[in-house]
Assembly symmetry: C2
Homo-oligomer: 337 residues x 2
């Protein structure tokens, strides 16, 4: 967030987004859900895939890449595993519908899986993990992306920076991992550069192929590092392969390599029922043990801990917004369309 | 492998292990499968969890931690998701039975999941990925371990170095990711140290808490790095949480922290059917695209590529063995028990 950020109450942000979506032809119900998903992403601190991404979302509607009214269509059912065609619908609505269907399948079969093809960017992946955990289930989901991550040993991006989400419900707040395959996102590199700070650990290569913690040098080369070098590169490939083969959708190399047009993605949504057996407290014990490690840094965190803290703050204080983005949205609301 | 390694033909190694297992009371059928899994691990180059691990496996039978005749017992069935009790049986036989059951469930329901508790070390995790892919299915499995990985920011191990396996079938040889959560295993650190080589990338901290590529310094501190720092630490926690809650088994912190006695593990086995739809070649296309990246290193590899090459070599030339370990096994065969 820029230093001149101001804070907007959750309800106000939600209302503005909802009204813009209605202007763009969304049905009442779909506008509400779509606005909520965007607002929640910003409220949880994922500004890049919340409010800041909204103008591009509207742009993709304008250019016809996102079909406002399209819903996923069942392509094939194999029992607890189903294949759906996203019909180029709004990515977050498609993803929400898919996890919702996976939850229904899991309630019937113990585990459920929806493979979705031909969909758009799902915005914040964590949303669908929280969705499963809110329903009391384990949620696992991932998406592929356009080629934007060089493999280990390679100088050009032939992998996607495919995010993986794993969520487990917990009474005191769910535990949700939402991680992309690169060590740092391009958004994170930009933030460090603007603050004139080096990365805390090497995050990529400079144009000479030397590993570096200088964010600007990595932005210049485009060579971000996969997490764990060869390991994250391998994981990224497998996520693309499984999503593509299960959904019969596009693989990373078939997705047009134009960031602003990223579309026709393939995704997987898995939900797993947790039978009540008195072991619900185990997750709290696991976290307690995790945190029992002495620290020589800034402490030990569990996945989603930061999210819970930011959410609390932003609900109380308002959600920080970039004034330029906020003005852009206000203009959208006032303009003819 | 030590420099004085000699090579033993696959059939001979398999025969020796089979006969030792029979001496320890394994049934004919179970001895054959157990010997095959150990031999295949070594044949595929995973010596640490093949032949080299066999003496400890026999030791754990002797100390009563592994019950030779125990088989997994169905604890609860929820349709496509089942919970089994490993009954302290041999870890590789339990894991093989569990993936086999997940495959059966997936053939019926599209996807199948077995959560297994109270089992022993599964030796090479990749085995069960290859098993699913050999059956024409996608396989995903993981296990928890005892606490042996410090979390990001922490100085003491409160996470397990939980391996994750993802396998996708392919006609020219399956693509199988088999990765633990640490950047380097302790076995790998030992190999680099013995060759007096630094690690190719930082692999942990020294006793002063400084990140280092010196294998001996990391062995001294025990502070290996999770892949992707905070990201791999988060992934490790989630794998433990899901395995524990689904199986109602022990979490990492409940597993006795004695390496030689590692037992009562929790594991998850997922199989997913790939409906024939003419997209089988997509995986080869994905790999072709991956490898289209120019390289400024030793080239770009896909998960399992090295395994396929080593397997071919070891089948043709014999499997390299540590002469001391091989002598130990020959002695076992000749001894009273």
């Amino acid at each position: 967030m820029p230093s001149n950020a101001s804070r907007i109450p959750f309800d106000q942000m939600f209302d503005v987004l909802n009204r813009i979506l209605l202007k763009h032809g969304f049905s009442t119900e779909r506008a509400l859900l779509c606005a909520r998903l965007f607002t929640e992403a910003s409220c949880d601190g994922v500004y890049s895939h919340g409010l800041n991404r909204f103008p591009r979302f509207i742009e993709m509607i304008g250019s016809g890449l996102i079909e406002v009214h399209a819903v996923p269509l069942l392509d094939a059912a194999f029992g607890a595993l189903e294949r759906w065609d996203g019909s180029s619908g709004p990515g977050n609505l498609n993803a929400h519908a898919s996890m919702s269907r996976a939850i229904t399948l899991a309630r019937k079969h113990g585990i459920g899986c929806v493979a979705l093809r031909n969909t758009n960017h799902w915005m914040r992946g964590g949303s669908y993990g929280w969705q499963a955990a809110d329903a009391g289930l384990v949620g696992i989901c991932w998406t592929n992306t356009l080629p934007n991550l060089p493999p280990w040993g390679g100088t050009k991006p032939t992998l996607g920076n495919n995010p993986l989400v794993i969520a487990v419900p917990r009474r005191e707040g769910h535990v949700v991992l939402d991680m992309a395959m690169s060590q740092f996102s391009f958004g994170a590199l930009e933030s460090y550069r603007k603050r004139s700070e080096p990365l805390p650990v090497p995050g990529g290569f400079d144009t000479n192929g030397v590993m570096t913690s200088d964010p600007a040098a990595i932005e210049a080369s485009g060579r971000v590092l996969p997490i764990g070098y060869w390991k994250g590169a391998g994981l990224s490939l497998m996520l693309d392969a499984v999503a593509t083969l299960l959904s019969a959708g596009c693989a990373t190399h078939e997705i047009p390599p134009e960031v602003v047009k990223e579309t026709r993605l393939s995704q997987v949504f898995i939900a797993m029922a947790l039978p009540g057996d008195g072991r619900e407290e185990m997750l709290s014990e696991i976290i307690q043990f995790l945190k029992s490690s002495p620290t020589d840094g800034a402490g030990v965190r569990y996945p989603g801990e930061h999210t819970l803290a930011i959410r609390k703050e932003n609900l109380a204080e308002g959600i920080p917004v970039d004034p330029d983005v906020w003005k852009q949205l206000s203009d959208m609301l006032l303009s003819g369309r």
